[in-house]
Amino acid sequence: MPIKFSHLNYVYSKDTPLETAALHDINLDIIDGSFVCLVGHTGSGKSTLIQHINALLTPTSGSVDVNGIKVMNKKDKKGFLKSLSKEERKHQNIKEIRKNVGLVFQFPEYQLFEETVLKDVSFGPKNFGFSDEEAIKKAKESLKLVGIDESLYDKSPFELSGGQRRRVAIAGIISLNPDILILDEPTAGLDPQGSNEMMELFNILYKNGTTIIMVTHDMDIVIKYATDVIVLKKGDIILECKPHSLFLNDEILKELCVEEPKPISFAKDLIKNGMKISLENVKDTDTLIEEICKARVKYE
């Protein structure tokens, strides 16, 4: 399900004194099976951008095309539908997008509401027309995937720890087997191991073909998992690149106020001092150590 943003503009509270332009003329292609990280300061438009992909927000002007279905404002969409044949119009149902694009908000654990874990996770599938039986089956599959033990299925979600609650909330979204999974800072507030486990889960989904779009401030995640990086600033895309090029761009790093991942800055220092290692292979401390060993063997 490829995604294409064309000349998308979004203005919050249009025609009121609080009017603020949040996105300007966004043009962007996201191809199937990519792992895209969106980075930028608070208020740069990251969350506004992702909410367009499953039509929670509709553009003030321009469009997002998700697998052929256009997300547009009412007026534009009316005009667009007129230009289509009756047959083509059938494929323009926004509900299809909602089913195929899973969106996990920041701190999704605050959105749990059902009496039991299992009920909460099966709510989504039921809502999309699956029978009770099928919905429970899907819920159990995704709970297993996120590592929630069966003994917790009948507990109230509010009895669980913060990390467990977040897993349950994410299970609720992946129970619909979305082709595209959008995540807004899914590891914020988790301890290091909780964060690693969560990322490994998304990596499995990615390897099974799910397109992952993730808002994050964590550069260690960007370097380890992303295939592409998009940098936003005040509603504009200021850079689209591969993760390693991001860390060769000092100006952008300074703009983002992030430090490059430690393994990367260390590798750069080694290169500066004459060691022959390839920066593209360095993704974390383990791969850095491998590279150092390789270079040392060459010396001797």
Binding site: G162, G189, F266
Partner: protein, 271 residues
């Protein structure tokens, strides 16, 4: 030396027969900056809530600046302790930055004509003096947390507890808070800080780290010593700083680098 916190044989449980703490003792000196390090669910935030009497211990003793925590002393203790919570949006109560800092002062019936200068003083201490009329919606998470710190400082606490107060912030916000804490330490050597976190790089800033797992103290030492325990820390879902991970990893590959200074490590490796 005066003790800021003294906890003896603390026992606490949320539900019957599932103890968070069964026999916990620790002490923190006045003027010390101590980090309580532990994974999600290790009991570290529970401990903070016990210290300010938001939760009640089953048995054991908690003393704050020599006063035992009990019904009689609880308000005296609270007036001496400030706490910064995790979520910047849950602790902004004023309609503007100035109002928010004023909230505690109003509660303590500080005369109105004195308030202005106090608000300005603490707003500028955390670098928020240009935002006094701003509403919370126009502030970043880091800015809101700085306002929370200013509000707490205005009450002249002797002890500040930071309960994961940077974990919801972006890198800029985290850095802002770390810088403010360093500044506070420089300006007031008597201020005791208890920081609760699972961020190991942040923990590195403190004088001492207490590692908590399953309600028990696992390590209690200066940062340099703490991070020598890689295996144990990884086992309890924590991490160690990059330089330790690199040095230890290289060692297993037969490359011995006897340094924890990045520059020196690069030099030794490139020899």
């Amino acid at each position: 030396m005066e003790k800021a916190i003294e906890i003896t044989s603390l026992e606490f449980e949320y539900e019957k027969d599932s103890k968070v703490f069964s026999d916990l003792s620790l002490s923190i000196q006045k003027g010390e900056y101590v980090t309580l390090l532990g994974h999600n669910g290790s009991g570290k935030s529970t401990l903070a809530r016990l210290i300010i009497g938001l939760l009640e211990a089953k048995s054991g003793k908690i003393e704050v600046f020599g006063k035992e925590l009990n019904e009689e002393n609880i308000y005296a203790i609270r007036s001496n302790v400030g706490i910064i919570f995790q979520n910047p949006d849950n602790q902004f109560i004023g309609s503007t930055v100035a109002d928010d800092i004023a909230f505690g002062l109003e509660n303590h019936q500080v005369p109105h004509d004195e308030m202005d200068s106090i608000i300005k003083k603490y707003a500028s201490l955390v670098g928020m003096e240009d935002f006094l009329d701003k509403e919370p919606t126009s502030l970043s998470g880091g800015q809101k947390q700085r306002v929370a710190i200013a509000g707490v400082l205005a009450m002249h606490p002797s002890l500040i507890i930071m309960d994961e107060s940077t974990s919801m912030l972006d890198p800029r916000g985290k850095k802002e808070i770390r810088d403010v804490v360093k500044k506070l330490r420089n300006e007031n050597k008597d201020l005791t800080i208890l920081s609760i976190t699972h961020d190991v790089e942040e923990a590195f800033d403190s004088d001492r780290i207490i590692v908590i797992s399953n309600g028990k103290i696992m390590f209690n030492d200066v940062p340099n010593k703490i991070f020598e325990h890689e295996k144990e820390l990884l086992n309890i879902k924590l991490d160690i700083p990059f330089v330790y991970k690199l040095r230890n990893g290289l060692k297993t590959k037969g490359i011995d680098i006897d340094s924890l200074d990045e520059k020196e490590m690069v030099r030794l490796l490139c020899q």
